[in-house]
């Protein structure tokens, strides 16, 4: 059973719909106490970094999520669900992230050539050392909507990168914790394969 984190950040319907279409057993998690019996946590996210962290804080999710990830229980973050794994973001100075990964999320630099937010389909290139994401989806297009990004690093947890003016980290993976900057639930067949992969690897 997958638990979809419902912490009040936008419509989770498309993630639910994707799970239903894939016959992935899933239920909404409205409070940390509901994590019992769930084998993996799926964390969608949209909106601003601060709003996201405030919602997690108000509903008591911050420590349970940190413990879940530190205990190496299966986790899959989507979009803001990737960014909040880091320490903080230029989007919301002073707002502390889950900080299970080091670093600050940055804003795409203003440019005449690049529109911000990045909105549309871009390729994700799996890092050579990563073993979690299916090789068949290497350099496939996924749907992205975001204005902030995780800067490049040679850290072990970098699982995939995308180029939008600059190259940045668009997928992370360490132990059983995985997250992507793009929206698998909006990325047609290739995106659904990733969600299916997560459900298969947790059960």
């Amino acid at each position: 059973m997958i638990g979809i984190l419902d912490y009040g950040m936008g419509n989770l319907g498309s993630v639910q719909n994707a799970c239903a279409a894939l016959d992935i057993p899933a239920r909404m998690l409205n409070a940390p106490s509901e994590m019992d019996g769930v084998s993996g946590v799926l964390m969608p996210g949209q909106g601003a970094f601060r709003d996201c962290m405030n919602h997690l804080q108000d509903q008591g999710w911050v420590e349970p999520l940190r413990e879940w990830i530190k205990a190496d229980k299966p986790f899959f973050g989507i979009c803001m669900g990737l960014q909040v794994l880091f320490e903080d973001s230029e989007e919301s100075p002073g707002s502390e992230g889950l900080a299970v990964l080091p670093g600050t999320v940055k804003k795409f630099p203003p440019s005449d050539e690049l529109k911000v937010p990045q909105m549309g389909w871009n390729r994700c290139k799996w890092d050579a050392k990563q073993t979690y994401f299916p090789a068949a989806l290497h350099e496939r297009h996924f749907y992205y909507v975001h204005s902030y990004y995780v800067p490049m690093t040679d850290a072990d947890w970098v699982a995939g990168t995308t180029t939008y003016g600059l190259e940045y980290v668009s997928a992370v993976s360490f132990g059983n914790c995985h997250a992507v900057q793009f929206h698998p639930e909006k990325s047609q067949a290739d995106g659904l394969k990733l969600l299916k992969h997560f459900s298969e690897t947790v059960s």
């Binding site: 529109k115 389909w121 749907y143």
Partner: protein
């Protein structure tokens, strides 16, 4: 590198697709859900629903429709038509739309853009601009499906809506719309160069070259078409293969 998007538009009236269709494999060609699924199989990058239902009560059916389509297709969906107040934006997003397109209401009450963008984020607010060439060498914004001229200059209006928080502009040339003579490249490029958000070119597509022109010379980020796809003149796949062969990045 970000791919250029190809977006079919479905005009919806009373829960049915208005323009005739020519997909041989569709059992019910007017069924929006079947059309959406067909476009997904062809590789559409996004879907736009334009609700042209007249009455207010009937609009509820579009909310319902968006919910149903979202269970069957997994790509971004934009819904436009009849969005008047911020509560309409919320209803569409809650139903499963990723973006909401606002046209006349943004002109009558520009604060709706600020309000909706602040609350739901710029990325889900599309402002649709219908523009027609004027005698001064510029373009004038029209409302009510291109029937009513305003005092607004299209380029100034595009800048204003982006300043207010629009995350994307759906730009339709009323001169080109329906002609199949090609997009208004000058209009598209002028707007695309004036704003820092993506511009979707709309109106006038008739040949494969037209799509390429809008994306290269016109500097559009995406191209939208309705009847060309509905009537099966080209499949989305055919358009994308052509664009790819022209060296344009597309998702295939």
């Amino acid at each position: 590198m970000l791919a250029k998007r190809i977006i079919p538009c479905l005009d919806i009236r009373n829960n049915r697709v208005v323009k005739g269709v020519n997909f041989v494999d569709l059992i019910d060609a007017g069924d929006p859900i079947q059309q959406a699924k067909a476009y997904e199989l062809q590789g559409a990058d996004e879907l736009t629903f334009l609700d042209i239902t007249a009455s207010h009560e009937r609009r509820e059916t579009v909310v319902d429709l968006v919910g149903k389509v979202g269970k069957e297709v997994f790509m971004p969906m934009t819904v436009g038509g009849g969005i008047r107040v911020a509560a309409d934006v919320r209803r569409m997003l809650n139903a499963g739309a990723d973006k909401v397109s606002i046209n006349t209401a943004a002109i009558l009450n520009p604060e709706i853009i600020d309000e909706a963008a602040a609350f739901y984020g710029c990325q889900c607010i599309v402002v649709a601009i219908d523009a027609r060439r004027n005698q001064k060498g510029g373009w004038t914004v029209y409302t009510h499906g291109g029937r009513e001229p305003t005092e607004l200059d299209a380029i100034d209006w595009a800048k204003e809506v982006v300043n207010r928080g629009a995350g994307e502009i759906l730009l339709t040339s009323m001169d080109a719309d329906g002609t199949k003579d090609g997009y208004d490249i000058e209009l598209t490029r002028t707007v695309a160069e004036a704003v820092g958000v993506p511009v979707i070119a709309s109106g006038g597509a008739g040949t494969l070259e037209h799509f390429a022109e809008a994306l290269t010379e016109g500097k559009a980020d995406a191209v939208l078409a309705a009847s060309l796809f509905h009537f099966g003149t080209f499949t989305i796949r055919e358009v994308k293969e052509y664009l790819r062969d022209q060296g344009i990045e597309v998702r295939i």
